[in-house]
Structure formats: C-alpha cells, structure tokens
C-alpha cells in the first residue's frame, strides 16, 4: 500500500476529501520526522514507537580497493511495534494465512 492509497482509504472512513486527507497524512509523517530530527521519541499507543538509535563510528573497508576507511557515527531512525500490533500481525486471534 502506498501513501496515496492510504489517504484514499482513510478519506473513506472520515468525512474529508482525498486531497484533504493526503495533506493530513503528510502532516502526520512530517511531524514524526521533525520529532526524530529534534532527537525526540514518538510513542503511539496501540501502534508502536519511533526513536533514534546512535551508531558509533567504526572501521569499514572499501569493497573495491580493500582500503580501510573510517565510517563516521550516525543516527538511525528505529521503529518498534507495540504489543497490540505485534499480536495482531501474528494472528493470535483467528488466522487467514493464504
């Protein structure tokens, strides 16, 4: 499912147009992006949480030349599914495996 399909389905559930819903979907993910950028974590009950994980610098190698290079530390956005969502995905209650 893409962002456009998501907006379309959401707009069918609420009384907003597809265009308005697309705008809202963008604002929602934009706000999560901004929070992560500030170093804030985002906790969405029943869904999961987003946070930044820090990766220290490490020594890597250029796969072509085999030369050692220093890989600088970086931040990685990380999502952890909430308990409810994890269980739903595992079909704890009635499965419809295809």
């Amino acid at each position: 499912m893409t962002k456009a399909e998501l907006a379309e389905q959401v707009s069918e559930k609420i009384s907003l147009t597809k265009k308005e819903t697309e705008q809202i979907v963008s604002i929602i993910f934009g706000s999560i992006t901004n929070a992560l950028n500030r170093g804030d974590k985002v906790e969405l009950r029943g869904f999961g949480s987003f946070r930044i994980r820090h990766r220290g610098s490490r020594e890597g190698r250029n796969p072509k030349t085999g030369m050692k290079v220093k890989v600088p530390p970086k931040k990685v956005p990380f999502f952890r599914a909430g308990k409810e969502l994890k269980e739903m995905i595992n079909n704890k209650k009635g499965s419809q495996e295809s």
């Binding site: 998501l6 959401v10 999560i32 985002v42 970086k74 599914a81």
Partner: protein, 93 residues
C-alpha cells in the same frame, strides 16, 4: 511526543475542528494496522516502509537458566527508514 501532540499539530495546520483532526489521525493509524494485519506492506514515500518478515522456528535459550526452548515460527514487523528520513536525522548533528 505522543499521539495527542500529532493531533494538535494537524489541528493547528489544517482548518478542521480538533475532533476532526483526532478522527483523521486515529483513522490513519487504524488503516495502517489493518493493512499490515492482512499481510500487506505499507510504503510511505519519503518516510519509510513497514514490512512484514516471516521468522522460522528456532531454538532459544533462557539466559538466566540456560534452558533451551523452541521459539515458534512467527511474523514480525520491521521498519525501513527511507533514504530521505535517514539523511534528515543526520543533518545538523
């Protein structure tokens, strides 16, 4: 940041009532959950992709007692951040 903060941001940015903003935010996360539960991936351009992975059954060990037990085959959800998101959070640090 929690869901209520997102609702406030939507409410401030768009000309709807707070109830409408609330309904829209809830409906969006519910829709994503439904799709994932039905086994479909959800790809949000410029944000990231929610993917489902099938894990095989394997033998695990209780780290305290050292006892072996079987971890059943299961489906897990992973998130792959988009290149754009990874770049944004690494900027200005």
């Amino acid at each position: 940041m929690v869901k209520d903060d997102i609702i406030d941001i939507v409410y401030e940015r768009v000309g709807f009532t707070r109830n409408e903003a609330d309904a829209a935010v809830e409906a969006m996360f519910e829709t994503i959950k439904e799709r994932l539960t039905s086994g479909e991936e959800v790809n949000i351009t410029s944000f990231g992709k929610f993917r489902l992975r099938n894990k095989k059954e394997r033998v695990g060990r209780n780290p305290k007692t050292g006892k072996e037990y079987s971890i059943k085959a299961r489906r897990v959800l992973t998130f792959k951040p988009s290149k754009e998101l990874r770049e944004i959070v690494n900027k200005g640090s």
